[in-house]
Amino acid sequence: MGRIQSQLDVYSPAFLANAEHNRALAAELRRRQQAARFSRPQRDLDRLSRQGKMFLRDRLTALLDPGTPFLELSTLAANMAYEGEAPGAGQVSGIGIVAGREVVIHADDASVKGGAWYPLSVKKIVRALDIAIENRLPVIHLCDSAGGFLPLQRELFADRYYAGRIFRNQSILSKMGVPQVAVVLGHCTAGGAYIPALSDYNVIVRGTGAIFLGGPPLVKAATGEEVTVEELGGADMHTTVSGTADYPAASEAHAFAIAREIIAQMRPPQKTVIDQIAPEPPLYDPAELYGILPRDSRTLFDMRELLARMVDGSRFHEYQPAYGTTLICGYARIWGMKIGILANNGVLFNDSSLKGAHFIQLCDKNRTPLLFLQNITGFMVGKEYERRGISKDGAKLIMAVSGASVPKFTINCNGAFGAGVYGMSGRAFDPRFLFTWPGSGTSVMGAEQAANVLTDVKIRQMERSGKTLSAEEIAAIKDPVLEDYKREQSAYYGTSEIWDDGILDPVDTRNALGICLSAALNVPIEEPHYGVFRL
């Protein structure tokens, strides 16, 4: 496979300015993730100490295989919600290696509001279990939660994908034969009790772990019965009397040793075989990605330059290089694994939409996973394109994306706006994983455009009642709208709402994709079949 020839001047002022801008964005991401992972009020850390509990990051170190990567998902969930009081939504989820197996970790962070479940916490857990289901990954639950955050129960309890979905997903995983191990490190109360109960195996720490549908205060209020935590739902009662828990542990370290040994008993997965060879790092330095992404996301750049810093050996076989040039399609490898890439190089036209739909089918037939690199503001509008059937062609692309049986992965590189998001396998189209780059964002239309539309409406309203607005007055109307829009379309907002699986530093994308690809191959790939393409 031939290599991409970079046309960039890495010493040009534009490149250097971009690099400075993007490095600052990456540094900001690191700083915010570090804070979300580690900054806690001292009194919360002291409380954990007093209770004899390990800090969550130490628990993960004890659980995971040393020398292996951990891909953490949605680190910055809830970063723009609940007044910032629930970093990470009080949860850590990710994909790691335990006893040599790829597993999904779902962990309550007891250093954040006692591990209470906010609405976004529930969403994060459900998402982690959806990933486990879609990719047939065993799950390890580290249970240490105070229960649902009652003041916001309306957003986390009753609906289809709220808290109940956690337990439904657990049951489906068990039905699928995908094992779950729960390690009870704190109280599992009410709904939380079902997590260990629905796990195939569970371990409970003596003295700190407990499982009960109602804790001692609730029991006393309900029936007047006075009972201690240990008697009601402690390790010894559940492992020797009720049989709700399988293994009692003398300490957290003991519990993790047991959990690792349980996972080691699980049959290794049958990996789906795809085209895979020995990996090769990109020929061009991935750090150059910082210089490629423009400071102003509306500036056009050649996506091929991005590819050259991401794929093995910077090798790329371009499909239909002369046709539909606003969508680059072609084959490459990431960590040795063959993938088909669709990357935007402009808006989507008829030809690029058709090319995309066709290429997706080729990859599907060839059993080649798909990678979508989003940099899209939408489809082309106008009379000429409508007559040519742009809506039809966009529909064909969407039909292909929706129907593809091979695993799909999406990176929002430089903006994903409007219907273009659909054609480029946005969240609703079940890519196995979707990540966003720090300077990127997503909304129904660009902020400027949206602000202009909304402001125009307002201006016309005013003009109809005889008012003419000065430039300042227009700005006064437009600016707040623009600000709100920019805020709500930012990568940080999207990740806060868990519209993605996390923000990635661009240079981390290659490793993340390697891990995601490997995780996705625990499920067989179905035969290709689609709905009806409007031809």
Partner: protein
Amino acid sequence: MISQNFHSVLVANRGEIAVRIIRTVKALGLTPMIVYHAADKDTPAVRLASIAIEITGVTPVAAYLDGAQIIAKAIAAGAGAIHPGYGFLSENAGFARAVASAGIVFVGPAAETIDLMGDKIRARNFVAERGFPVAPSAIEDDDRQSFAARARQVGAPLLIKPSAGGGGKGMRIVRDLAVLDDEILRARSEGQRYFGDGRLYVERYVERPRHIEVQVFGDMHGNIVHLFERECSIQRRFQKIIEESPSPGLTAAERLRICEVAAGIARAANYCNAGTIEFIYGAGEFYFLEMNTRLQVEHPVTEEVTGIDLVAEQLRVAAGEKLRFRQEDINVNGHAIELRLYAEDAARDFAPTTGPILAYRPPPGIRVDSGIAEGGSVTAAFDPMLAKVIAHAPTRAAAIAKADKALSDFVLLGCQTNAGFLRRLLQDPDFIKGDIHTGLIAEKPELMAEPSPDAATTLQILAVAALSLRAIIDAADAVPVLHSSIGEWRN
């Protein structure tokens, strides 16, 4: 002059000495036989012998002490001679007599000589009466009433010894006469317990004494020679650990004097076959300690420096031949050091250890007398001495270096040994200077502790462990290649 010829030799012993004796028996064209307890069934000595006969006993040691059973087996097998080795029945006059009565040659001195020298008090008197130097002493039997007073007169420091004892058991050093009476009581009860005989004698104790012994040899024709001295001052609780020849502490004149005294004693006793006379030496003075009427554990150092196979000479003398060398034919060449390898944990006060012998590779190019082999095991049934490493070189310094290198290359795994302790002794500045005495080890308790390996060696050990232990390798192999390649990465 009795000429006794035999064609086979039964070794009434085990372990390294049995192997060593059998080697010479074979070299002389005689048939080696051995008696063994079932516990020793698969040992090198038993495999080396042409004929191996099982003996039984309530304990394995009891079997080797059962003289009647051994003689009966020897008769049944038609053995021409019995070599008792050291320990066990080697200094049992009754056994020697019974062997002779059975018409079998006993490879050792006459039973009467064993009797004489076996009774420590008799031996001491015998030596003193003939004008040979003995330490000032008081013997209880001389006058029980005045014993304590006479003991007091010997003066401190003194040593209380059981008259029926030997090999270092039951001895007590008294430096403060105030506790003398108490110590006498204790020594008496110990003597009763260990040897069935509570009689005592008391001897002047030499401070920082050196243990010097002389190998003597006599034949049935009245010829006596000495084969120079050995120094055995490196001892722990009166057990020898390192022996060497010649002694680094004697002047030429002193050497001559001691050796001639030893030869004189042997002559006076009409000694036959191999024997060793032990002396205590200190500050230019030396005193007779005891005579061992058998081959000693440390005989190899004499063999190395003189070039004479002592077991071969024992067998020839026992067959009635004349000694083949005169005193002037015997020379000392170079220096030899013997290290006794014990199954012991020096760090835990030399507690005996046990274990399977998982790997056994003695160092090449050096004499190793051993009774164990890979696949065997070390149990609590017997004495914990496993092997002897004997280094011979032109100089003492070269012999020390050769011995140290041999220990460094000696692979013995599965049972902990005192090899590390021996090396620390060899590297000790006082040992290297030759400034040694029987209390040296007691004075240097710091040598007992096993130092932790340094950082680089620890890393190597852990690397070997990681690459050898299944659980560790399997855990490494279980991680998918991709994740191993990415390594410890976090986004």
